[in-house]
Subunit: 366 residues, 4 copies
């Protein structure tokens, strides 16, 4: 589970009944906008040319918490049934030869051999369908308060898109990202992205990527340091997404090579209000949101399953061997992963907005 | 609070009574080795040439949980008194002009002006003294199980140390790191580190850095995915340390530019045991520890307080102004920050080792 | 959510899609024994002569966490579909006239009118179906460790059964309880129980009851004081069951009238082992299990819905009015409630057994 | 730890450095009223004629979270030093002969012999000093919102006070309770209370008691069912107090003998507002506060330590033996325990008021 007031946990396994999300503390009175949720699910859905050809409708069923089109305040449980699965590769091969880059082997050890290894089981990217459904509903809440979240792909392999997080307009950006097959923020980079993906595919290989996220409309002071700062909580959520191996705010790892005179964002006055005059900090200071905009990045490793032989161990015969990936897989998980980052960000922010509201509602005028 | 079985929360403010750590669930029977704890505190202690000249003894007091030299199983509370503080700069200047890079302004907003702004209050790096004390005791527990943790500085400004996380010997590395004024893993880089720091100091500036952490001796299968994977929990802990702006495992952000054929760590047989044949994954797969060694990095921004004028807003007169840092500050917080990363890692791992033991203790033979 | 290592949350609403339970941290390798689970569901199932005539199959669906008949270690989610519902009374009457004894009115206020009021929504006793399913699976785990839990009805109205919790044999007791339409521990009391229920029914009324629970086979030392003692955690779980208004251990409220010389359970030696020589304490001391057997009681108020007019307020016309219950209701919820108490006890104990195992697995021999 | 937004944990051991409370999430801007806190501590303080003669000043030190007389929003840590302790009885006797009624033996087993057994260690009633300090500060917050909490002794041994929880005026009651050496709500019962206590003392015995608590000024809808209902959370908190063996709301266990027509509290209109017309439910329905007033009771067992020989086991010689209590002990822990119940209630309510405010602050007008 993650969260304090709005807490969520995902469940389900890749080749089981389906995947879902359990959310406690979701506020009542939020319109359950099926259109909007379907739009979010489509963004994540497999089937595109540059994503896995697995065909799934990914219709979101409500098991609890919605009545006459509005959330009720009861635990909200969303479920997405699995279909169109073929477990033969897993039964035949993966059950004895753990795939490099996957959790097959540590899972086998941790769960003493009882884990559902088909399709990666609970470790499958499939669980991001549940995250996206939950994130969509979280956004229905956040939009009432003017909070916006957008995640997009800024790097695939060697190709890097260029976005200025300080000046970019979120509305226009969102339009681009949702219409791009690469969740790209910049039409100029699409060709280079396509080349990276097509090259990888042709060579039976996969490629990594980086996802950037912008948040607008947050009040100042979200986050609960010392141990539950907003950045720490976002990092935790984002690193729970399959394939993410790093998280950085603002200038991130580049800050290691900077001077303080360069890295500190100044405080400025804009229309009579104090504002952060830069985003090197990512818009979070001391674990607290520092103003209107937040920016962070997450790196996705290349898809672990590839169609080239990779060294592994045959656990039955206890000898070294090779494994060649089968099944349908995205060549670059960062593309669909961007929808998962967006979803997790929304879930974490919805929790923190609720926490923040609690103090704001106090009678401050003594 | 962070943690599930072993949970910790830090408290205290920079110019208040002191800083401390509250730990619930700490197992009984762990020798409270004062020598060892003092050694760890010395590593973090200010006063060195390249760290802040603030002089503090940093003696760790036990308020609860130790009896006759052993932990009792009751909540463990450690406290480090504050001394040698001069709050005049904060009263005079910071109370009206928020420092760039610090949480002064968002804290003022969040806490409706009631926060203790002296020395940064609860946002001060001072709270890492409590983390280091807690981490030291966590290590006293972990060492019983053969778990080792070491954090060291691999980058200051432009200077980068070179360590091969796959082959390096932790014992020899620890000796070097503890005897280096830069917590450096490599004597060859010390001169370059020194230049970066001295240059920054001379220019009234500060400099960023990167801390790397190695963990040895973990069993396979630590971590509780889907939402409490080991990497997600480490990221959360590490990003709670003041000044940390990013976290990456193994090859980290470089994975965004890689191919899967390159990034997947193979499975190999070593002395009849299945092992991870690389550390591109950082030794964590699907949120589970994958074998013996884990490696991750955290970036520290340059110290926010510098002796050069920086743009800010005078909140009393509501006009833009400058602020020049006063008081004693490390030119590079990554150096002492490395002790905090090490401490948090130990606290998080102690929690996860306890969780893991619970299933291991089950009667697996049916 | 309740629990730390094994955490559970229930979801669903009386007239929605169904009710379910989400369990995180359930250990892998536990046989999913459908027979056993069905037996437990039957015990709770409506339809008997002395319980509500609502007919439901109450088949437990697994949405996550079971593979080839064994739990996998992934989140375990069980779901029981709703059927056979008629919401007309709620639409017509309850939506404007809150029922005395029910949460209709406070729920309307808390959820700002968005709560699903049909059948009591999330406040319905229907959610105990999910608890019983979860408790059954928890028991499949507990029985591996020799832990037994039995709840039974010791009082309905004025009629009280007599059980000696110190000497009674749990096996024989279980047989009786499961074959009694009143979950009664004593055939001699059945007639009096029946009279209480039949009288209440005839008068369009309902009647309260008391449920007692025995636990056998626990090791000494379960529980995490100071704030998570075993008794506190059991109380929390049991008071979450609809209709429960009190919880007491051992001699319970009678202890208020006792002397210490009378109430203290002595320590005795039995076959060379230290044992508690009484159960006035209920078998819990200082929040820790004190030996083999635990005993506690919970009181269920009479079913709130009765077929007699009761004073309420018409919220549309804002005037005082009467309401007469409709729909099918147990005359005495303690009977089926006993299955819920048993289930919650199992869930709470499974969590605490796992916590306890963690320390037990430590290398105690230094 | 207990709580979600305002979380607290107590620490310390009877003969250690002191006892304290760690509170996370305490809102800023609450005046730290030392007078008020001292008054609450005096109520609990030992030294009175009918309570233990242990003399302690019980001055509350602030270790974190208060600045210039107001809470800062940082973790609030209060500490009460121990003094005036004589551990010889524990070293000499209790270390080998566990006291009946105490946690000595199960603690020895759970903590593998490492627990601090002096004065009962973490199981001592001494920890209620920390609870009372924390509860006092929680009340400073609650009083801003008009919430009042009062706990008092309604039964000692055979003597029962009579209070009508529906009609009693809390202001006048508070005056009586705070000036009574028995925390009694009724001057007429004091003599009978005194007799019970004096008789018990004279016989080297102790006596049990029952504490009742009234809460006024709560809004409707506090509590987070299904698993964190207000009653369940109060029960958990109250059962964490040393010596409490039962908890009941409203008519409590008497509901087991009632009919629904008698037990249901009607809904009535008062000055145009819907109100609960009775308190048989205790003012909580479905886990939600149902209106203005809440009433519940907790039973305290007789003090376990008595000056009469009681059967126990000598763990060194492994033979049955007797133990006679030494040291200073209240003859009736319910008296001072009433201050602890009041404190815990305040802490739990402060958490739930904060949770509740979060939803209230939402923009309900669409």
């Amino acid at each position: 589970m993650q969260g304090r007031l709005l807490r969520y946990g995902v469940f389900g396994e890749s080749h089981g009944a389906g995947v879902g999300i359990f959310i406690e503390g979701f506020p009542p009175g939020v319109e359950y906008d099926e259109e909007f949720i379907a739009r979010e699910m489509r963004r994540r859905r497999p089937g595109g040319r540059f994503t896995s050809p697995r065909r799934e409708e990914d219709r979101v069923e409500v098991l609890s918490g919605v009545f006459r089109g509005y959330t009720t305040g009861a635990p909200l449980v969303l479920f997405v049934k699995n279909r169109d699965v073929d477990s033969s590769f897993y039964e035949r091969v993966v059950s004895r030869k753990p795939r490099p880059g996957h959790a097959d082997y540590p899972a086998r050890v941790k769960y003493h051999g009882y884990n559902d290894y088909r399709g990666g089981g609970m470790f499958s990217g499939r669980r991001t369908a549940a995250l996206v459904a939950g994130g969509a509903v979280a956004q229905l809440f956040l939009r009432k308060l003017g909070v916006r979240v957008l995640s997009y792909v800024v790097q695939i392999g060697e190709a890097r898109a260029s976005v200025d997080p300080q000046s970019v307009d979120l509305d226009r950006l969102e339009e681009r990202v949702y219409s791009s097959p690469f969740a790209s923020p910049d039409p100029a980079i699409e060709r280079a992205f396509e080349e990276e993906v097509v090259d990888a595919l042709r060579e039976g290989d996969s490629v990594g990527g980086v996802v950037e996220t912008l948040v607008d409309g947050l009040p100042t002071g979200l986050g609960d340091p010392p141990t539950e700062g907003l950045d720490a909580e976002l990092a935790r959520g984002v690193l729970s997404i399959p394939g993410v191996k790093g998280f950085e705010l603002g200038a991130g790892f580049a800050l290691g090579g900077m001077r303080g005179s360069e890295s500190n964002d100044p405080w400025v006055l804009r229309e009579g209000r104090v504002e952060l005059g830069g985003l090197r900090s990512g818009g979070v200071l001391g674990g607290l949101s520092a103003g209107r905009r937040i920016v962070f990045r997450a790196v996705f490793k290349p898809t672990s399953t590839i169609r080239r032989p990779q060294p592994t161990v045959d656990l039955v015969e206890m000898r070294e061997d090779n494994i060649v990936g089968e099944g349908r897989h995205d060549p670059c998980i960062a593309i669909r992963g961007s929808a998962a980052v967006q979803a997790v960000t929304r879930l974490v922010l919805a929790d923190h907005v609720l926490r923040w509201l609690s103090w704001e509602a106090l009678p401050w005028m003594r």
